[in-house]
Symmetry: C2
Subunit: 674 residues, 2 copies
Amino acid sequence: MAEVQVVFMPSGRRGRFPSGTTVLQAGRSLGVDIDSVCGGRGICGRCQIRVAEGEFPKHGLTSGSGHLSAPGSLESNASTTQPLQPGCRLSCCAELQGDAIIDVPPTSQVHRQVVRKAAEAHDVELNPLVRLHYVEVQQPDMHDPSGDQRRLEDALEFEWGLSGLECDIGVLQVLQPVLRQGDWKVTVAVHAGRQIMAVWPGLRERVCGLAIDIGSTTIAAHLCDLASGEVLASAGLMNPQIRFGEDLMSRVSYVMMNPDGDVQMTRAVRAALNELAETVSGSVGLKPQDIMEATFVGNPIMHHLLLGINPVELGGAPFALATDKALTLRASEIDFAIHRNARVYVLPCIAGHVGADTAGVMLAERPDLSDEVCLLVDVGTNAEIVLGHRERLLACSSPTGPAFEGAQISCGQRAAPGAIERVRINPDDLEPRFKVIGCDLWSDEPGFAEAVAATGVTGICGSGIIEVLAEMYLSGILLHDGTISGELANRTARVRAEARTFSYVLWGGDGATAELRITQNDVRAIQLGKAALFAGVRLLMERLGVDRVDRIRLAGAFGSHIDVKYAMVLGMIPDCPLDRVSSAGNAAGTGARIALLDQHSRPVIEELVRRVEKIETAVEPLFQQFFVEAMAIPHLTATYDHLRKVVELPERMPAATESAHRSRRASRRTAKLD
Amino acid sequence: MAEVQVVFMPSGRRGRFPSGTTVLQAGRSLGVDIDSVCGGRGICGRCQIRVAEGEFPKHGLTSGSGHLSAPGSLESNASTTQPLQPGCRLSCCAELQGDAIIDVPPTSQVHRQVVRKAAEAHDVELNPLVRLHYVEVQQPDMHDPSGDQRRLEDALEFEWGLSGLECDIGVLQVLQPVLRQGDWKVTVAVHAGRQIMAVWPGLRERVCGLAIDIGSTTIAAHLCDLASGEVLASAGLMNPQIRFGEDLMSRVSYVMMNPDGDVQMTRAVRAALNELAETVSGSVGLKPQDIMEATFVGNPIMHHLLLGINPVELGGAPFALATDKALTLRASEIDFAIHRNARVYVLPCIAGHVGADTAGVMLAERPDLSDEVCLLVDVGTNAEIVLGHRERLLACSSPTGPAFEGAQISCGQRAAPGAIERVRINPDDLEPRFKVIGCDLWSDEPGFAEAVAATGVTGICGSGIIEVLAEMYLSGILLHDGTISGELANRTARVRAEARTFSYVLWGGDGATAELRITQNDVRAIQLGKAALFAGVRLLMERLGVDRVDRIRLAGAFGSHIDVKYAMVLGMIPDCPLDRVSSAGNAAGTGARIALLDQHSRPVIEELVRRVEKIETAVEPLFQQFFVEAMAIPHLTATYDHLRKVVELPERMPAATESAHRSRRASRRTAKLD
């Protein structure tokens, strides 16, 4: 029989086959990654390929569309559920009749790269645990009795090479009617190549998964097509546990005070998850029952409450987790009403204060692949900090408190329309200008008052607080030790005496609008938070034995919104070229999505979590020392000139403010703290 | 350091150890099977051993109790939960100080043989899947944070060599309080050496399992101590599905006629199982939550309904099972309210009419270990028949109908007080005498009437029907072709004309008591049943290529109660020396118990079930032929003289009856059937 030569691109795999072999058969026997759900029956349209035209001396052959069999009725009728792209052929129908170079486009590869979002560090490899397989099953025969399950498994072995399968009881309960309804042609969802988890009559092509980040405040979910990696829809929901306590510690207190407090909170979060699954699937015309797998990240307390574990041990030393291992469960084990046989993967927690959300950040950022020293920071009520590189990784949590989220600040508020998010202060006249969420104008631009008439200027959000304090420092209002300079009270009415301290008036107070001002207490709250963050980072740097970091990634909502320049002016993060500091977006959620799409990522994060060195700041004497030293702005030893090396600033600090700084510095070398 | 020599009996394992080694350590390092739950802490008392006294030239040593360290406080205080037996030592406390021969009594072995019951074919090897392990867990340490689960697993690995464990979420939910309640000393139940399924504070020694046989009529359960193999309690319950239909086919009809009929029946059987678990555990002071594992056998329809699978496909050709594989499930998956993390093992079905109950019979009887030709028969509404030997096994089901259970017999009834179970007929005057259930007297003995006054003589049960028909045959009332001989009507009033046939009056009819008589239709019903049974056996013999069987085992309640001599007279079973025919008791239930106690039996039965050749009688033309031929009594070619070779009978058939037989035989060679 005549032989033909074929080369598959982009893999470059090549081989010789008898003329008449289908392109799909040839590809499979060479291990080329060509997608197919229907198993080569010309139904699903997933195995589309193109033929290169021309002479290819490098490959020693001439290729052309004429070297394939003419399109048959299946292809020309375009009856596939995925339409045939122009110039494409179905590899399961097209037979090789001459030498050919076959191009497998990314959309026809199973293990294609998922297009990454701007904030994401790495591409995601698509290796979903749940795969669909279309099979034709032998009908029962009284002369050779065997159960329907066995004949289904025989078909899966014969057509897809899957052996040693097991079958969920939920599948057995519907198997017989589904086989007969589908006239013995069914699509099977197989989990991890081992477990039959669903069966539908006829051909089915879409299989979905849900990646979920359970935050203390909000729960975010991304519905993904497991076959393409595409995010079909995203949705968020307030965490209903908020009614039991605003922050984590008040929720743990609630559990301590109420005998079934943990049960109530578990019930609340699970109900919210079911609502979210309904919303996010409904938004694209699907049902929760279409979701075959879900992955979860969350801080240790959210993690425990999701799993129905009382988090009370996390409320006090020694902060023992019930488990620091990853969990694979049935969705039903956590009352998650997606597909009845769906599986759930919960990323591992790292330590009592460093949760599965941080594991998600690590999986998204993969500091273990970096030769440089990477710093990952996820700021919330606690800051989770990961530092390290290819050789060594360390992690800790630092008690920043809720100031960065606008709590404990006299005029602080959540990021919402009306909240100040950007601030500039003129160093000459100390007058501020600012922007609020929901309005594109600066406050000194014409039309601002009208533009914010609807919302008002209601408060200041986390990123706004950072900016106003940094600008106060840069304009000399705020001194190195964090004191609001009383000397300026006679230069501007915006600096105002209050009991024994001073405050800076940012907005209003004219009778028509509420006054928004930064008090000395507000400054202290931020100082405590940023000192904790910086001390945590410095502790890890000390342990790692480095005095600088090469790259900083700020995860979470806070990291997405702050201007890193101001974070550096305030001394929240260590010195680092500004262009090496960036937002990682919702890296924890990205980690959940990676664990959903790429099964190989699960052992990776499990091993990473085991390997990371866990530092408990509460028992580290050095942490206390670093904490005290980090209270100064930007930090103990840094000055304006030092700041200029990393942040673009005017060449000289304004004369007046510089003199104010200098006089304070002379009088006390170390910041004295309240 | 001085070395001592030690020999363990009965294994004969021997070795040398440093003086001061505990007997348990020495035994373990030699792989000697010594039980222990507490891991050598002198608490559980399971590791008791004896020291042989005297000179043992064969072993080259002198042994004596003086060669062990003196009993310490743990032993002498006898504080162990299992009391120290006279002359015994705790091997975990006693140190070797000289050569010794150590006897490990059966009660101190893990893998001991379970004492078998009379009806059981084989001893049961004790290899339970669920094992208890006592451990002391490291407390959490902030300097080296790790989850409680990990430290528990570390302890299990360190103390018991168990690695790669996983943990049920139900355990994680209670782990933290249990560890603290037990002051970091807990007992862990591990399933299959892999899965942590329960944890209790302190030392716990008892772990239970439940073996269940779901019959169409009754559900039987045996509660077993998984550590000793002992049956702690047994209990039975009517199958509440009876309200949906007396026999299997009427239940399938119910499902066909009622849209949620299967759901109702599943709910009914599961509710009954929960009641049974409550009853059987309560009878020995335990709770259903103490049951960590359950095994199930049942016919295909009971099997499917238990699992929540609609059995409608089993109601018609091609009788396809949803599955013919064994299932391992969570108890919760079938709503079985035993321990929340308990596992369930359901034995495999063999074919559409040959269920997991037959698999249980095979596991109890192990015909595959026999060099002889074994015939296993389980008679119910269908007879399940297994025939074969070491090389080859065949199985079929034969539609005997419910006549053997007393149904379709005019005066038939279930085996209950008042039912006739034994019958003798005097061949001279054709007068009967009988015994009823609940009374030790024969009906012709003085005091019988008074003894049965309470219950009355209410009907005839399955074994009674067999006996009365066989006796009618032996006394000439019943002819070879199954006709009640009208010629005798003028000899005795007990043979009475009825329309065109005759009947035999067994009891009553004197006005005071209801009349019990055997009609021609009753005979026909039994003939049909016994012909189906015999034809099924003969079909398998034909297929196996044998013309005799070496051994017959009758399983089930019917097999326990009938007198095999009469079964042979009627021609229910093939010729076989009477002493090779015996009852196997509730062999299906025994199989469930074996699967519960010996994990190694599970792959054995799974492989056996795959290997057995399944014969579907409905599509075998030979079966029809054999069926017709088997209608005669005892069967086509057998005569009284033939019977005498296998059954002890008077030398000659009574002259009168013989002549009657002869005249009928001459007139028609082959029985003509209705």
